[in-house]
């Protein structure tokens, strides 16, 4: 089954066109990588899918597990199972990370008609994830992203993703600014969630993350649309040739 179907998606921000006709189909069980130069619209795609205010969709359709994704509010997209790991996670001072995660998870559960999670169950789940991924257990008690290093913020995104267990996760340049250990941890966080009913869209500027998260399909973004798609070897080709040759090859 296709989890996500994007058809001729166009969007603007402040009158500037950032998506110029994106077509993309992601079936369950697959990992799709979106690569491309800075300013090519990769992050805009992630934002538009998550419903970030400020973007205006001017044409196109997005179906998410059969639903019209663009008709949903950002929190409804989250409840439906869409998760965005932010490139720049936001601090919420004074709010305990565990409390935040419990509130988030319970909001999801309520929307699905499920009972609230037992606090002890959540804590043991968090402990297990943090242990498996080698995170500092203190992360659970700190205030959401407040005073976190760049790496810690990304750890926190992966922790949230692992607890919320989304059907479709978008990682927006989660690898930027990470050292090799942190990169491995992020990859491990994704790989342990890979399953036939779940899919990932990994937005990245560099090929190196894809050494650890092996993609099924690689798409190349340029000037607001996908200009080339291929298997995982496309990432390596981009690594050696850069993006210039694609611009020339553009139709």
């Amino acid at each position: 089954m296709n989890l996500l179907e994007i058809e001729d998606l166009k969007a603007t921000i402040a009158g500037h066109e950032v998506l110029r006709g994106v077509n993309l189909v992601v079936p369950g069980g697959e990992v799709h990588a979106v690569m491309g130069p800075n300013g090519s619209g990769k992050s805009s795609l992630a934002h538009v899918l998550a419903g970030k205010p400020g973007y205006e969709v001017t044409s196109g359709k997005v179906r998410f597990m059969g639903q019209d994704l663009l008709a949903l509010a950002p929190e409804e997209r989250a409840w439906a199972g869409l998760f965005l790991a932010f490139q720049y996670p936001v601090a919420i001072p004074g709010v305990n990370n565990t409390y935040f995660l419990r509130s988030a998870l319970n909001a999801h559960r309520k929307a699905r008609g499920q009972d609230e999670i037992d606090s002890r169950d959540l804590l043991s789940k968090m402990r297990q994830i943090m242990k498996e991924l080698g995170m500092d257990p203190k992360l659970a008690q700190r205030h959401v992203n407040d005073g976190f290093s760049g790496g810690e913020k990304k750890h926190n995104e992966v922790l949230q993703m692992s607890v919320l267990e989304p059907r479709f996760a978008i990682l927006d340049e989660t690898d930027s600014g990470l050292d090799i250990d942190a990169l491995r941890m992020v990859a491990e966080g994704v790989n342990r969630l890979r399953s036939p009913e779940r899919a990932f869209l990994v937005v990245t500027h560099y090929q190196r993350l894809l050494d650890y998260i092996i993609p099924d399909v690689v798409h190349v973004f340029a000037e607001g649309r996908i200009v080339k798609s291929g298997g995982k070897e496309l990432a390596l080709e981009l690594e050696s040739k850069g993006y210039g040759w694609l611009k020339e090859a553009r139709p």
Partner: protein, 480 residues
């Protein structure tokens, strides 16, 4: 940790304590003269000295003018149009809980303050004040075993006259200000706490104030004395029915701490705030002051002010004893058309005295929030230290936040620090929380609760949960 689902359910309600108890009362008709004061004093079987004290206060009050320096605005109060006494017309002075009118017990139960000792929050003793009188005080025997006196002020005047005479008016003099003078003349009840030398009070003490009667002012008086090496944590809670007219609440609270004694005084104020057009609500004009008389004594004020049409108060500390410590932790939320002008005064007199002020103001809808504080370092206060932090959070374009920090330093060795910030909830925060599944109301509530964290952390556990809920309720419909 609190429960967010519960928070959101509560956020869907309006002021939840707006109902009225139907009970026969013994009330004075509106009006204020010496006869009013004599009536109140007689009603309470007061000794002559107490009546004379009241009459002297009344004489001073008549010569005083209502202050007008405050930022808050309200129509002129007609003091002759208020009733100064209203009490449930029940059996005179019940000796035990069994004798208390069941209707009153039900009232407090409905407010979440069950007075039956087996049902109360473990470890919290309650004095319940209904309009002008205290209707019950729980756990008195248990406290008595520790030597702690916890009773209504009326009872203290009769049973512990020496203590009351010694300390009443010793921190807030009769003519300290217009409302304190009025209170001194007509105060009807309140709580009295005495912690003897070396005693750590075995439970939290609390007073729950309820205004029920129409057109009635509530003038309560609280006095807490902590002798050498003692400790007490005290909390007050307040609610009132929803009414279209404004009601005056003019209380006086005095705290006295001797050598190494510590008093922790917490307030969760949720008087009826009025409606979104500014109709009705309580005028909360209160004088609260603590004297750290002994060396290394400590007084800590924590207040969460979410109710009242107008909140106007400055819980203060006079740091007389060397190395004494004063603290003020405040959250003031103004939504609807609420106004607040609140803060503290820290008067450093003793050597190496220390004070900390953490103030968090939240302004929503048409709310107007003012922090006003004074840090005064007297010439003898060598090595005095103050740290002040005032943070304001604006949730709407129509709300206001103002900060007036006054600093007077007369000793060159003093160190005074002040930090202030004003912020708004960012779109990035809201989007981040929305992406994690929190709708706007839940997200704002979470951000505001986080903003208040440093203050809520100072509250006793049970009340921190209560404070979290209150913020959510008060913010209902106020965002945007």
């Amino acid at each position: 940790m609190t429960d967010n689902v519960e928070l959101r359910e509560i956020a869907g309600r309006d002021y939840e304590h707006g109902w009225e108890t139907k009970i026969e009362t013994r009330s004075l008709p509106p009006g204020l003269d010496e006869g009013t004061i004599r009536f109140i004093s007689r009603e309470k079987d007061e000794p002559a000295w107490m009546l004379n004290w009241r009459l002297a206060a009344f004489a001073r009050w008549k010569e005083m003018a209502e202050p007008n320096w405050q930022k808050v605005k309200y129509p002129r109060i007609d003091y002759q149009a208020l009733s100064y006494y209203s009490a449930p017309n029940t059996k005179k002075r019940p000796k035990s809980l069994e004798e208390v009118d069941p209707e009153l017990l039900r009232t407090y139960e409905k407010l979440g303050i069950p007075l039956h000792e087996q049902a109360t929050l473990a470890g919290v003793a309650v004095d319940a004040v209904f309009d002008s009188v205290s209707v019950a005080t729980t756990f008195r025997e248990k406290l008595g075993e520790a030597g702690v006196i916890f009773c209504s002020m009326s009872e203290a005047v009769r049973e512990h006259p020496d203590l009351v005479r010694k300390y009443l008016g010793s921190v807030v003099p009769v003519a300290d200000n217009y409302f304190a003078a009025l209170n001194s003349a007509v105060f009807s009840d309140g709580s009295f706490v005495f912690i003897p030398r070396g005693v750590r009070c075995p439970m939290e003490l609390s007073t729950y104030f309820r205004i029920n009667a129409r057109n009635t002012g509530q003038f309560e008086r609280t006095l807490i004395v902590a002798e050498d090496d003692s400790y007490v944590s005290y909390l007050e809670g307040c609610t009132a029915p929803q009414r279209d007219e404004n009601q005056l609440h003019a209380a006086v609270v005095e705290l006295v701490a001797f050598d190494r004694a510590e008093i922790k005084y917490s307030t969760v104020q949720n008087w009826y705030p009025g409606d979104e057009h500014g109709k009705g609500g309580i005028y909360n004009f209160v004088t609260k002051r603590g004297a750290c008389r002994g060396i290394r004594s400590k007084i800590s004020w924590t207040q969460v002010e979410t109710g009242s049409a107008i909140t106007w108060k400055y819980p203060s500390c006079i740091l007389q004893g060397d190395e004494s410590v004063g603290e003020f932790y405040s959250v003031a939320l103004t939504a609807k058309r609420q106004q607040a002008d609140t803060g503290t005064k820290m008067i450093h007199i003793g050597k190496n005295t220390k004070s900390t002020i953490i103030s968090k103001g939240i302004s929503a809808a048409h709310g107007d929030n003012t922090y006003r504080g004074l840090v005064k370092i007297m010439p003898g206060a060598d090595g005095a230290r103050n740290y002040t932090q005032c943070d304001s959070l604006l949730l709407s374009a129509t709300s206001g936040a103002h900060t007036f920090p006054y600093v007077e330093v007369r000793n060159p060795t003093a160190k005074v620090e002040h930090e202030a910030t004003t912020s708004k909830i960012s779109d990035d925060q809201l989007f981040y929380l929305a992406q994690r599944g929190l709708n706007e109301e839940a997200a704002v509530s979470m951000i505001v609760n986080g903003f208040c964290r440093e203050v809520f952390n100072q509250l006793p556990m049970e009340f921190a949960v209560e404070a979290n809920k209150l913020m959510s309720v008060s913010l209902e419909g106020a965002v945007g």
